[in-house]
Symmetry: C2
Subunit: 483 residues, 2 copies
């Protein structure tokens, strides 16, 4: 059934209206928790002012948008997505005001692993995945070359893999500002194939870029894809495996053979694979719907590989970036140019084998612009990295190389893959958390060191995206005794 | 008030009896959760057999102890502790049967940072911390030399720092067996100084071995100690800082000057320090009482530095090793020789600055022996590393070098400090979790890789113990759909 997320439904308009109303409780939760309301609503901190956005900043930022926010809907089609990169040069798909609410469809870039379950009958997904001997729905996939004389396996060369919906241009956003992105909702995209009504599917690829790959037992290197089923009705809070198969060489419609998973969206021909339906029987994976890749366009290059996360966010792959969470990004280019993709039904900290349960989702976001001039003295002042706020925690994200585009020179986008290190990401997370505690919370350096040792948890976000990640979590309740 | 944990209390016997009765609910919880009961009680798996100990193994292991378990009490005194090492060569302080329940006092090795709050009036702690120009309560501190012509700063040279109570000899335990250690209770040891009635104190040292030490702002290297207060009555579930001070050279009673924190138990003379009571105001650190160091004696060397964790457990520094948790250790020597120390009131994942809130605790443990011959086909078969089971999760612990004593040769105990690497610990945790999922849960290698990526969380246990640690957590509920 259409939940206001199927533009082909004859009753889409009515369903979408109902859907918008349905998210009001979510928005009310945000208000109740002391986060800035939409547009002109300035909220006081009901939980002791424990949002990164102070009431004063909320009031100041209210002027950046109209009094009444608008709602927008951005479907995922071959026209509204860009595949495999962030770019400051591409045309925005939507232009909005600060405070506006945007529902955005996102498609997994692993739907080619089972077109029957994840694409068939879904007009948006079909337009994106269209690939015949003459035409691709989305020609370029990756930040690599688009010159047939230069690229090796296809336009963009698969240097970057995520289907990104957007970008969204936020009026008035300029470098130095901060964009607050609240995730009001995050729901699975149901299979459009009537054979699989009420179900959603996702794909997990244990691929060559996985952490496990060089440690295969008996050195029997292989790539294995597991298809998972997710309950689209929301009654089961777990995913279950349906089948798995070993990747075998696949020849794409343009005639290029892919012996490995080296280019996104290659349609898998299952007459060539051997599907094993006796897989992970009785195993229930708790679902954690979230967006693996969400962020704004970097300034340093025209086309930026979507795989390594960076100071503008992107492919952070933290499963906590789901419903109820808020991300803060430093704006690097005019309009911010936010894009979202890489939807996941679930992922563990580390994303060990290379991917999560890659599963199309539809998200509803509220975007709020905070101008540089208003940030002085707040937690967001001179913030040069993405931050995550959940209902109960703040998180900083450390990377092997924090702003690799600026640091690693002209070959940054290939060089970053040689820099993968949890040790370095740990150091970066430590430095960012210290800065946060000293800057935002007014602690001395000595206070920050002690508190980080006794009250901050460091975890491994991912070890598969070139620029590896460590996150540091601090609970808001730690500050509940302060005036 | 004595809670059955103060041997000097005139009513100690009665209090201890009441205390034992008081822990019965905890023991009942364990039974209810399907873990083997004491002695002859064989439990069925009430939560779908989701303990590592199957009902069959529970029944088999019941024969290893008497039908009725005994209770024991091991106070911490200069006679019952060994300081800074594990050793297969030292005399057991207690000899027990499988299934017996042991209450063990543990003392923090940082009590010298504030003798007034953490030692004064406490007969056990005073006996351990005794140090005059003629005598030390515990002469040897560390696995280093005891020859005055060889050691540099004191007997044992501080190569290992933790005050360990024990060892406890478990009758019938032999190499190849597994020792199950259930933590039935874990309570703070109240300050014995009447000026601080109802309070417990702990120390956090941001020390030279901390992860932060080479990243001091302006390269202003210093060691800073923060004293925390913990509510010994159990009414507040948080700790608060009392004061901090910078370490200044301290001359110990034998006349050795310690310009750095290089030897445990040096009594701090606060007439030389400058105490800052305006510290971390309003910050409430959630308490997580646990034992930083708990394990059995390794076979590879006679005296083993207590700092680097190893295959026999030891200084794992995972805050989840608290009340309600169960540890499993591979037995390496006859009698297992379990010791416990390094009590913590709280710690974050990573233990960033070098220590936790180091705070004396008293623990109550039930020790159950599983014989090698009974382990075939169970989760504990050929287990060559420590495992942690909480009420809801299983955890494996990866280290930079899993069994460094065997791997690194004759200089292993110094060499390990050059091997610190989160990347290596991550790999070890991955390999151990894969083995667990394949061996225990019967998954194929491909199933294990997929499940680890979508349903297992990898976190950074500690980056300060030479042999750095990464833990992998899998929720038991993931298996709740299995027959």
């Amino acid at each position: 059934m259409c939940r206001g997320d199927d533009v082909n439904c004859p009753n889409f308009e009515a369903h979408f209206k109902a859907f918008r109303e349905d998210i009001n409780p979510g928005r009310r939760d945000f208000l109740r928790n002391g986060v800035l309301g939409a547009g002109g609503l300035a909220a006081v901190g009901a939980v002791g002012g424990l949002s990164l956005v102070t009431p004063a900043l909320a009031q100041a930022s209210a002027k950046n948008g109209p009094a009444t926010p608008s709602d927008h809907y951005l479907p995922a089609t071959s026209e509204t997505v860009h595949w495999g990169y962030f770019s400051k040069t591409i045309k925005p798909q939507l232009e909005i005001d600060s405070g506006d609410i945007v529902t955005i469809e996102t498609l997994t870039h692993h739907a080619g692993d089972d077109l029957e379950r994840m694409v068939q009958g879904d007009e948006g997904a079909e337009s994106v995945y269209l690939w015949t001997k003459d035409k691709k729905g989305v020609e370029r996939r990756g930040a690599g070359s688009t010159d047939p004389n230069v690229y090796k396996i296809g336009s963009g060369d698969g240097k970057g893999v995520h289907i990104m919906t957007g970008p969204v241009y936020v009026r008035g956003a300029e470098p130095g500002d901060v964009l607050e992105v609240r995730i009001l909702d995050c729901v699975p995209r149901p299979s459009a194939n009537p054979d699989f009504a009420g179900k959603t599917f996702g794909s997990n690829a244990a691929a060559w870029w996985g952490f496990h790959y060089n440690d295969m037992i008996n050195d029997d290197k292989r790539e294995v894809i597991t298809i998972y089923e997710v309950d689209a009705t929301g009654q089961k809070n777990w995913a279950e495996a349906v089948y798995n198969f070993k990747w075998v060489p696949q020849t794409d419609p343009y005639g290029v053979t892919h012996t490995m998973i080296d280019y996104p969206g290659v349609p898998v021909d299952h007459s060539l694979t051997s599907r094993n339906f006796d897989v992970l029987k009785g195993i229930r994976v708790p679902i954690r719907p979230h967006f693996g890749t969400l962020g704004v366009a970097p300034a340093e290059a025209d086309f930026v590989d979507s795989v390594p996360p960076s100071y503008t966010g992107g492919n952070i792959d933290n499963w906590r970036i789901g419903k109820g969470a808020t991300m803060y990004y430093p704006v690097a280019v005019d309009g911010a140019l936010m894009s979202v993709g890489d939807p996941h039904a679930s992922q563990g900290d580390s994303e060990l084998c290379g991917t999560a349960i890659e599963c199309s989702l539809t998200g509803t976001f509220q975007l709020i612009l905070h101008k540089k001039a208003d940030l002085a003295g707040t937690s967001l002042e001179e913030m040069d990295h993405p931050m995550l706020e959940t209902q109960t925690e703040w998180l900083v994200h450390g990377f092997s190389v924090p702003n690799y585009l600026a640091t690693l020179g002209k070959d940054a986008q290939s060089e970053i893959y040689n820099k993968a290190s949890i040790d370095d990401a740990m150091r970066d997370a430590f430095l960012k958390m210290r800065k946060f505690l000293m800057g935002t919370k007014g602690l001395t350096e000595d206070e920050a060191h002690s508190l980080m040792s006794v009250g901050v948890d460091f975890g491994i976000t991912q070890v598969v995206d070139g620029n590896w990640g460590v996150h540091a979590i601090i609970k808001k309740e730690i500050f509940s005794g302060r005036a």
